[in-house]
């Protein structure tokens, strides 16, 4: 299992701030796709992804027990 954290409007969209899914061995790209389907999050394409508090690229493969945070860039200022 991996732990997934949602931030900003992703929370409102998915209705939760965190969740657990099977994801070990998959790439971030694959996980984003699954999360969009499973949690009805529409906006993951541009979300930055951190694994264990470190940004990773889309081809990064997650490991069992990883904490994956999706942080959508916001534009207001």
């Amino acid at each position: 299992m991996i732990r997934i954290l949602f931030f900003a409007h992703l929370r409102e969209e998915t209705g939760q701030s965190e969740a657990e899914i099977e994801g070990a061995g998959k790439t971030i790209k694959q996980i984003k796709k699954e999360v969009v389907e499973q949690f009805h999050a529409s906006r993951l394409d541009s979300a930055m992804t951190a694994v264990n508090e470190e940004f990773v690229p889309e081809d990064y493969r997650v490991k069992e027990g990883d904490v994956v945070a999706f942080i959508p860039p916001v534009s207001g200022g």
Partner: protein, 338 residues
């Protein structure tokens, strides 16, 4: 130096740091909520020269979080940059503040880049941020990204040659509208981002680069989250903005944009291909004769007829209110100004 005594007593700055600060030039792009806050902090701190740019004017709905502005500014529809310059001058008469009422486009930023030491992000859109990012890399000027919405905020300090750049972090420009400020924002989220930005700014301006925060910060003041994320792994040698063979894609792409939908404002900005110098008083007369309701100040005219409201600036830019339709906005602009 007495007015800066508390800051001089702060050991990392001291007398030497204060002197360095007084010799630096900071560019603040956008003086909405974030830009207001960082500008005030740095003006009080004694940053020697500040240039502020903003394309918008003060409205009542700004006052909840944009600390430089007053009800009078909103009533007069004073351009934010000009109102900021006036207020900053009242706050600290020892520094040199220069305001630009206009669009932070590639040409203007390239011109200013020759003489600034730091760029602070006070914008509300990624189009301008990617432009700043390319300018920062091309002229080797650090810049401090900041953004917020609701109770959520984020900030990152980008130092050319050291950290990943915005392009490395985001890979692509986030789609317009996705993160628009339609859900509102609370003042504390603004002040938190601005505090991070201003602290980093003080470190850079007093030559304490070694103390810069290496992480990307993201927080939610309502949900009580705080994340510090390491970003080094995203530095991309093939990045077109900061990689081994940079092309600064946004500096050339930008020149084509003529209309921009302003985030969350139901407003489209129309820019003429070339800057114009408008005879505002003559236009006001002409439009009043045509039955329009025209108000104004030395910087702009606000024109109303039926459900249309248009604000025209001296440089020929216009804000068409009440629409998100760029084609329609362009048509209205052309009808008015030919």
């Amino acid at each position: 130096m007495e007015r800066y005594s508390r800051q001089i007593l702060f050991e990392p700055i001291g007398r030497e740091g204060q002197k360095k600060l007084s010799q630096k030039h900071v560019l603040i792009v956008g003086t909405g909520a974030l830009g207001s806050a960082t500008a005030e902090i740095l003006a009080r701190a004694g940053a020697g020269r500040m240039t502020v740019i903003d394309r918008d004017y003060v409205e009542e709905s700004n006052l909840q979080r944009q600390h430089l502005y007053s009800e009078e500014d909103a009533r007069m529809r004073w351009p934010k940059a000009a109102a900021a310059e006036k207020r900053l001058g009242e706050i600290n008469g020892l520094i040199d503040v220069n305001s630009i009422v206009g669009e932070a486009d590639a040409a203007l930023l390239e011109e200013l880049a020759q003489e600034v030491d730091l760029i602070l992000d006070g914008t509300d859109n990624f189009e301008t941020r990617f432009l700043i990012n390319d300018i920062s890399q091309k002229y080797r000027i650090p810049w401090i990204f900041g953004a917020c919405v609701g109770s959520f905020g984020m900030t990152y300090t980008i130092v050319p040659g050291k950290t990943p750049c915005l392009q490395c972090l985001l890979k692509q420009m986030p789609m317009q509208g996705l993160t628009c400020d339609t859900v509102g924002v609370i003042g504390p989220a603004v002040q938190m981002v601005a505090a991070y930005q201003a602290a980093e700014a003080l470190k850079i301006l007093t030559d304490h680069q070694e103390d810069l925060r290496p992480s990307f910060v993201s927080f939610d003041l309502w949900k009580n989250d705080h994340l510090e994320i390491k970003a080094g792994a995203l530095k991309d040698e093939s990045c077109l903005s900061c990689g081994a063979q940079p092309a600064y894609p946004f500096l050339s792409r930008e020149a084509r944009t003529k209309t921009t939908v302003l985030c969350g404002r139901d407003t489209v900005q129309v820019r003429p291909g070339k800057k114009r110098d408008m005879e505002l008083s003559a236009l006001a007369l002409q439009w009043r004769r045509a039955g329009w309701n025209v108000e104004g100040n030395p910087y702009l005219l606000s024109i109303e007829k039926e459900d249309l409201r248009i604000v025209l600036f001296q440089d020929g830019r216009a804000l068409i209110h009440g629409t998100k339709d760029e084609a329609m906005a362009k048509k209205i602009y052309q009808t008015l100004l030919g």
